[in-house]
Structures are given as C-alpha cells and as structure tokens.
C-alpha cells in the first residue's frame, strides 16, 4: 500500500510510546544504574564503572549458565520447529475436526506458566506421577529430582509440550494461505509428496517460520517460571538457565551489580541474535 507522509501520525502513536516507554525505559535505566555501582545496603552507592561487566564476562558461573542456555534453546528449537511443521502438515485442513484440533492444541499456550511447571512436576513425580510412575514401571530408572539427565530431559519435554503448538498454529496458518492452484500445478507436473513440501509448502512457510523461530528463540532465552517451579534449577545446576541464575544473583544473594550487568549482557545478546537472524533471512529473500 502506498503510504502518505504525515508527521501528525505521531499523535496517534504517542499514547503507545508513553506507556511502553514508562515500562521499558525507566526500568532499563535502573538496571543500567545498578550495573555500574556497588551497594552496601540502604541507598549507599559507589560508582564501579565496568567492574561488574568484567566480572560477569570472566566468571565461570556465567559461562556455564550461558552454555546451558544455548544448549537448551538449540535443543528445543531443533525439536519444536520440525515437529510443529510435521503436525501442521498432518492436521485436517477444514471442518469440525480442524477446529477441535486447533482448540486442543492451543490449550497449553493458555495455561499460566507456573501451573505448567506444577503440572509437569505432578506428572513426572517418580512415585505418584503418571509419567514418572509409568517410566519406572517399564524398568527405566527415572527420578528428575535426583538425576541431572532426567531433570534436563524433563525440562526439554515440558517446553516441547508447552510451545510446539505455537509453531503448529503458525505453520497451519501459513499452509492455509497457499492457493489450491499450486497443488494442482504440482500434480500436473508429477511432483512427489516430498517435492510439494520442498518447493511449494516450505518456501511459503518461510515467513511464518521466521516468526516462529524468533518468538521461540526469545521466549526460550528468557525461560524462568516453568523450570523454576519444576526443578528449582536443580539438581545441582543442571537446569539453571540464564534467568534463573539472574534471579538467584539478584534476590537470593542480593548481588545487584552482578545481576544488572548480567541482565544487560543477556538482553543485548537476545537483540543481537534476533537482529542477525532477521537480517540474514531477509537477505535471502531479496536476492
């Protein structure tokens, strides 16, 4: 659509600008403020320059939780995006069953995050939970409160359970927007099922998959409530991801400077990855 140049449009945007700025700029300034100061209790602050940043960037603890974070995010993206696409491809295309599927699939997205954690806690308890009990009954030694691998896998499974539907809905919407003529043309050209996917569906899904990737990347990078309720970050530090570590530092140890510096590094990283991914994926488009 051809848009007209009109600076008065700023008046329409102003309310949004104010309300978001109130929530974004003021807290961000507070965080920046903390990140360069040392505090010894009530309102006593000393300027520390970049000390916290240097400390965070050189601390093994930060490297470890960053590593765990990347491994986790990478794993769930590798599972959720392909699985979401596969489910979207196999869903009914229309009719009552399509609606039923959509509603059932959207359900996990509307459950408060701590309830998701609590639900999975109950589900996975080795002695009384459906999953934990069944696995142990099958002879698999499973106890997510004691075994690091079990805990890590449970958190991954929980995230897949919680968020794959988002990818399904996005991919389903993308598939619905493909005109029937494309499938007809592919039949005429004798294309195989795989070719239809590779040359028609996948290119048309590219746009929504970029959205899915970005949303899932951002959200998994800031994941806090669900693993916190499920495992509390344990056993040991196995499921201590960035946000959990951050809250531990800020509230548990009252190490505000470190926590603030971590926050900023972490926020900048998310921004950078999203920007890089977005720019790279759009470059392919205009070529």
């Amino acid at each position: 659509m051809q848009k007209t140049w009109n600076n008065k449009a700023w008046f329409l945007v102003l309310p949004v600008l104010l309300i978001v700025a109130l929530n974004a700029v003021v807290p961000l300034m507070t965080v920046v403020n903390y990140s360069v100061q040392e505090t010894f209790g009530d309102n006593l602050f000393f300027f520390e320059g970049t000390r916290w940043f240097r400390e965070v960037l050189h601390s093994d603890r930060f490297h470890a939780s960053l590593g765990r974070q990347f491994l986790f995010t990478f794993t769930i993206l590798m599972i959720e995006i392909p699985l979401g696409v596969i489910v979207a491809l196999s869903m009914p295309k229309s009719g009552v069953w399509a609606s039923v599927c959509l509603v059932l699939m959207a359900l996990p997205l509307l459950i408060p995050w701590n309830v998701v954690g609590a639900m999975w806690n109950i589900f996975a308890l080795p002695d009384i939970g459906l999953l934990g009990y069944s696995l142990n009954a099958l002879g698999i030694d499973y106890n997510f409160t004691r075994q690091p691998v079990s805990a890590w896998l449970t958190v991954v499974m929980m995230d897949v359970w919680h968020w794959t539907s988002l990818v399904v809905l996005l991919a389903y919407a993308g598939l619905q927007s493909i005109d029937g003529a494309y499938y007809q043309a592919a039949r005429i050209d004798g294309a195989s099922r795989w070719s239809v996917f590779r040359y028609i569906q996948l290119p048309k899904l590219k746009h929504v998959l970029i959205i899915a990737f970005l949303l899932r990347f951002m959200d998994s990078f800031m994941i806090y409530t669900e693993p916190f309720v499920l495992t509390g970050g344990g056993p040991g530090n196995t499921t201590t991801f960035l946000s959990i570590d951050l809250v531990k530092a800020a509230l548990g140890e009252f190490n505000l400077g470190i926590a603030a510096a971590m926050s900023l590094i972490y926020f900048l990283m998310t921004l950078l990855v999203c920007w890089l991914f977005y720019t790279l994926s759009m470059k392919g488009e205009t070529q």
Binding site: S90, L130, T225
Partner: protein, 266 residues
C-alpha cells in the same frame, strides 16, 4: 498415507492431553490416595479440593484478582494500540520504522531482568499491590504485540475506504469508530485474545508487583505449595481452574487464531 497423518495428529494431541489428564485426575483424589501411590483413576472420588477453593476467600479472590488485571490489561492494550496501528498502517512519518522495531524489541525483554526495577518503579508511583500496576506492567509486551497484529489486519483494508469516508464528511474519530473498527472487528478479537493469553499466563511480574490485595491466583498456588506442605490435590484443582478461562476464550476465537498469526509481519 491418510492413516499416518491421523496417527501424527492423534499422537501429538494425546501427548498434550496426558499431563492435563494427570492434573485433572489428581484434583479429584484425596490427599491420602495421592501420597499412597500412583493410581490411574481416583479410587475415592472427591470434590473437597474444589469446595475448599470456592469457599476460602484467599483462594477465590486470587481468581478475581487475576481476571481483573487481565481484563484491564486487554482493554488498555487494545485501546492504545488501535490508533498507533492505524498510524503505522496508513502513514509514513519521521522515525516510523525505528519506532516499530523498538516496540518489538520490548517483546524480547526478559521479565526476570525487569522484575526488580518494576517493583521500585511502581512502589515509587504508589501503585504497589494494585490491579492497575500489573495491568500497566503487562503492557510492556502486550502493547507492542497488539500494534503488530492490528497493523497486519488494518493493512488489509484498502485505503480508498478511508478516503471515501472523509469525502463523505466523516470526522476522523467518527470514521474510526463507526466504519473502520467494525471492518476489522475480527482483528480486534484476535488481538484481544493474544493480550488476554499473555497477561493470563505471565506470573513473574504479577507476583512481584503484588502482595495481598491484588495477588494473582497463580501466586496463591505457589505460596500454598510452599507453606502448607504437600496439598497436591488442592494445587491440582487450582491448576485445573486456571485452564478453564483459557479454554473458553480459545473456543470463541478458534476460527480466527490461525488468521491472527498469518497476518502478523516481522
């Protein structure tokens, strides 16, 4: 071929339903039965947990608090986002692209980063432990989302509609409320759904900004879990009750969910 397809869908839905099934059955069990060991189906079916929730004001006021701030947030988000989305979909103006991108970056702000500063900010404004505080705080991620989705829907309405209305002598506010908003009614519905959803599921900020008067149900649950020991049946029942509002809302917008996603742009 048809069989495999059904198999994938059914298997996935089964996977989604199992933990919910676990939660629902547990909510109908007595504490003794729960702690006594695993059972696939309640041996002694009981509604005690639900009765407790509906009779104890610390429990049910939690629901009222949650629903209150979620509805407030949904209303504020849509109201503020409507004119802004119109501006982005119809006009070019100084810094529009940067502004749009900046708005979206707030969707990336991790609540864990902002929890403490939020507490200080809203305490300083004297809004601590009020519904409006949570509703305003959730605007951080819901307003950008609302602008994003609405802009997609508005761009689908041809500009000639606006021009015709102005020629016919409509003022901007009258045109916007009488003609334009009814045309994008489904878009507004979808947007409201997403605002409802993200405000309803968020807990960290809601918990941080409240203590008693506006405490959300999810926070009541967390505290119960830690203070009154292992009342799993009660916890499960409260969990089941938090799923119900979401399920009702999805049912109403089921035919528009896919559309709302498709029209958003990066």
């Amino acid at each position: 071929m048809i069989r495999t397809r059904w198999f994938v869908t059914i298997f996935y839905i089964l996977f989604l339903m199992l933990p919910i099934y676990g939660l629902v059955t547990m909510s109908f069990k007595t504490t003794n039965e729960i702690l006594g060991g695993f059972s696939f189906w309640p041996q002694e079916f009981t509604l005690d947990s639900y009765i407790k929730i509906f009779t104890d004001s610390t429990w049910y006021s939690g629901y009222i608090n949650s629903i209150t701030y979620v509805l407030m947030n949904t209303f504020i988000s849509v109201l503020f986002a409507l004119p802004a989305a119109y501006a982005f979909s119809r006009y070019r103006f100084l810094g529009d692209k940067h502004l749009f991108f900046w708005l979206l970056t707030n969707r990336m702000a991790p609540p864990a980063v902002f929890a403490l500063p939020f507490l200080q900010l809203y305490s300083a404004m004297g809004l601590f432990d009020t519904h409006i505080a949570v509703a305003l705080a959730h605007c951080l991620f819901n307003v950008p989302l609302a602008v994003w989705i609405l802009e997609g829907f508005m761009s689908g309405v041809p500009k000639e509609i606006d021009e015709t209305a102005y020629i016919d002598g409509y003022s901007f506010p009258r045109f916007f409320t009488r003609i334009f908003m009814p045309m994008i009614a489904s878009g507004i519905g979808v947007t409201a759904f997403f605002c409802f959803m993200f405000s309803w599921v968020e807990l960290l900020l809601a918990k941080t900004l409240t203590s008693v008067a506006a405490k959300p149900i999810a926070a009541v649950m967390t505290r119960t879990a830690s203070t009154s020991g292992y009342e799993l049946g009660l916890l499960a029942a409260a969990g089941v009750l938090t799923i119900i509002p979401g399920a009702i809302v999805i049912w109403f917008v089921r035919n528009y969910i896919a559309k709302g996603f498709a029209l958003g742009r990066v």
